[in-house]
C-alpha cells in the first residue's frame, strides 16, 4: 500500500513488515553548458504532493484513469528522488533498520530513466536500482557515473525523454515502482542474529547521506517553503495559457552520479508484490487552477545559490559497483542542446555557476 506522509510516498510491505519511503525533492536547475559536469545540487524541500482523486472535474479524465498523485514543478527548478528505506520501531517485528532493500524502477513517460527502454511489468536486467545502496537518483543515466538532471517540460515540444526516445508524447509524468525482496531471500540475506550488526553499517551510510538531505539552513528553508505571493502569481499569469496540459521530464544539465548495480541479483526480488504510482506534473499556474492552492516559491537560480556560498555535494562509493550497461538514454539530448539546434529559447536561465563549494559526503571505512 502506498500512502502520502508529509509529502513523502510511503510504500508499506506489510507481509514482510517492511517500509520504504521516497521523497520527490525540489532542487536547483544546474547549468547545461557543453562539457560541464556539476556536483550534486542541494535539497530544497519536498514537492507538495496531492492525491489526483481529490480533483475530479478539475483534471483531464485520462489523468484520473491513471490514478496516482499530483505535484507542481516550475520550469526553473529540477527534481531529484530521495530513497529512504525505513524501519518501524513502533511496531514489533518491523525492525529492519536501514536494511529493508527495495528494487526501484523509475520511468518518465513510461520510459526507463536508467536504460531508456520502454516501461514493462516486472524487472528487467539493470533497468532498476536498489535502495540501499542507492541513496537517490537525480536524472537520466547517460553513461557510467553521469546523469542528466530531471527538469519539467510540456509534452508536445519534443523535449522530454519520452518524445526523444519513442517519438510520441503520450504519457508524460513520472512513474515509480518498488519491489520488496522475496521473504526467503530476505531471511537468507539478513539472518536474524546478524541483523543488528548489518543494521549498524546501514545506519552509518544513511547518516552520511543525511548531510545532503538536510543541506539547507533554516533561513533558506523558509525561502523555499514559502509560497509565492498572490501579486507575483497574478503577474506570472498575465498572457499565460492556463489550460491543463500534460507535462513530462526532460534531460537538463549533467552531474556526477553513480547508479549502483544490484548487489543481490534480479531473482531475489518479489515481482508479484510491486507497488507503483503515477506522478502527474503541473506547472505553478495549473497547480493553482487545479488545487486552489498557491504554489511554493520558485527556487534560487544555481548562480545565485553558488554566489551566496551555499554548498553543492559529492557522493562516490568505490565499494559498490556502478551500472555499466549501454543505454538508450545515452543518446538523449539536453533541453539546451535542442534549444541550440532549433535556434529557440526554452530555458528561462542557464548561467554558469563558477566554482562551487563542494561538500564531500563523509563515508565510513573499516576500523
Amino acid at each position: 500500500m502506498i500512502t502520502v506522509e508529509n509529502n513523502s510516498l510511503r510504500f508499506s510491505f506489510t507481509h514482510l513488515n517492511g517500509l520504504f519511503e521516497l521523497q520527490l525533492i525540489r532542487t536547483l536547475r544546474i547549468p547545461d553548458q557543453e562539457g560541464q559536469v556539476c556536483p550534486l545540487p542541494p535539497n530544497l524541500g519536498t514537492f507538495p504532493v496531492r492525491h489526483i482523486d481529490d480533483y475530479e472535474g478539475r483534471v483531464p479524465k485520462h489523468w484520473l484513469g491513471r490514478g496516482g498523485i499530483l505535484i507542481p514543478m516550475y520550469q526553473s527548478e529540477a527534481m531529484w528522488i530521495n530513497f529512504l528505506p525505513r524501519n518501524n520501531p513502533a511496531r514489533k517485528g518491523f525492525v529492519r533498520s536501514g536494511q529493508f532493500p527495495v528494487a526501484v524502477k523509475i520511468g518518465t513517460g513510461k520510459v526507463s530513466a536508467i536504460t531508456g527502454k520502454e516501461w514493462k511489468d516486472g524487472l528487467r536486467k539493470k533497468d532498476y536500482c536498489v535502495a540501499p545502496p542507492q541513496p537517490w537518483i537525480d536524472g537520466f543515466v547517460t553513461k557510467e557515473g553521469t546523469v542528466r538532471q530531471f527538469i519539467a517540460e510540456q509534452l508536445g515540444n519534443g523535449l522530454t525523454a519520452e518524445e526523444q526516445i519513442t517519438g510520441k508524447a503520450e504519457f508524460g509524468g513520472l512513474q515509480i515502482e518498488a519491489f520488496p525482496m522475496k521473504e526467503k531471500s530476505f531471511n537468507n540475506e539478513f539472518p536474524e542474529k546478524e541483523r543488528e550488526t548489518s543494521c549498524l553499517k546501514g545506519n552509518l551510510r544513511m547518516r552520511s547521506m543525511d548531510i545532503r538531505n538536510e543541506s539547507y539552513e533554516s533561513g533558506f528553508q523558509s525561502y523555499c517553503s514559502a509560497t509565492i505571493s498572490t501579486n507575483d502569481l497574478d503577474s506570472l499569469s498575465r498572457g499565460v495559457d492556463d489550460s491543463i496540459k500534460d507535462m513530462g521530464l526532460a534531460p537538463g544539465g549533467q552531474m556526477e552520479q553513480q547508479i549502483f548495480e544490484d548487489p543481490y541479483g534480479k531473482k531475489k526480488w518479489d515481482t508479484d508484490s510491486g507497488q507503483r504510482v503515477f506522478v502527474h506534473l503541473v506547472n505553478s499556474m495549473m497547480w493553482k487552477q487545479i488545487t486552489g492552492e498557491i504554489p511554493p516559491h520558485a527556487p534560487l537560480t544555481a548562480a545565485d545559490y553558488t554566489n551566496k556560498g551555499y554548498p553543492w555535494f559529492k557522493y562516490w562509493d568505490d565499494e559498490v559497483k556502478s551500472l555499466k550497461e549501454t543505454r538508450k538514454t545515452a543518446g538523449l539530448k539536453s533541453v539546451a542542446q535542442i534549444e541550440k539546434l532549433q535556434g529557440k529559447s526554452f530555458l528561462p536561465e542557464n548561467q554558469p555557476i563558477g566554482k562551487p563549494t563542494v561538500s564531500h559526503v563523509v563515508k565510513d571505512g573499516k576500523w
Partner: protein, 116 residues
Amino acid sequence: MKFGEYLQNLRKDLKKKDPKWSLKRTAKKLGISAGYLSRLENNVVPPPSNELLAKISEIYGEDLDIMMAAAGRMSPDLVQIFREKPKVIAELLRAVRNAPESAVIRVVRQVRDGDW
C-alpha cells in the same frame, strides 16, 4: 440500538422535513405493506432481506454499509474482501477499533493506482 429503532428514527427524521414520510406512504414507496414496515420498526420481525435493505437505503438516502451494519450484516463485497485477506483485514479492524474516525480515514487513504 436495535435495527427497528434505527429504521424508525431514519423515517422520523425524514418526516420532520417532509410530512410525506408517513408509515403508509413510505411503505408504498418501498413496495411493502404498512403493517410489515410497522413490524420492522418495532422489532417484531427480524431485519429484511439484503435486497429490501438495499432498496430502503436507496429510498431513505442512507449509506448501504451503515444500514447493513445496523441489520447485523456486512455488504457482500466486504465479505468477499474479508474472505480474500482474512488475516490482514482482521488485523486492520482490530488496530482501528478504538481510533477516532479521522485517524481511520488517514490510515486507509492510499494512493490509487490506475490504468497506465
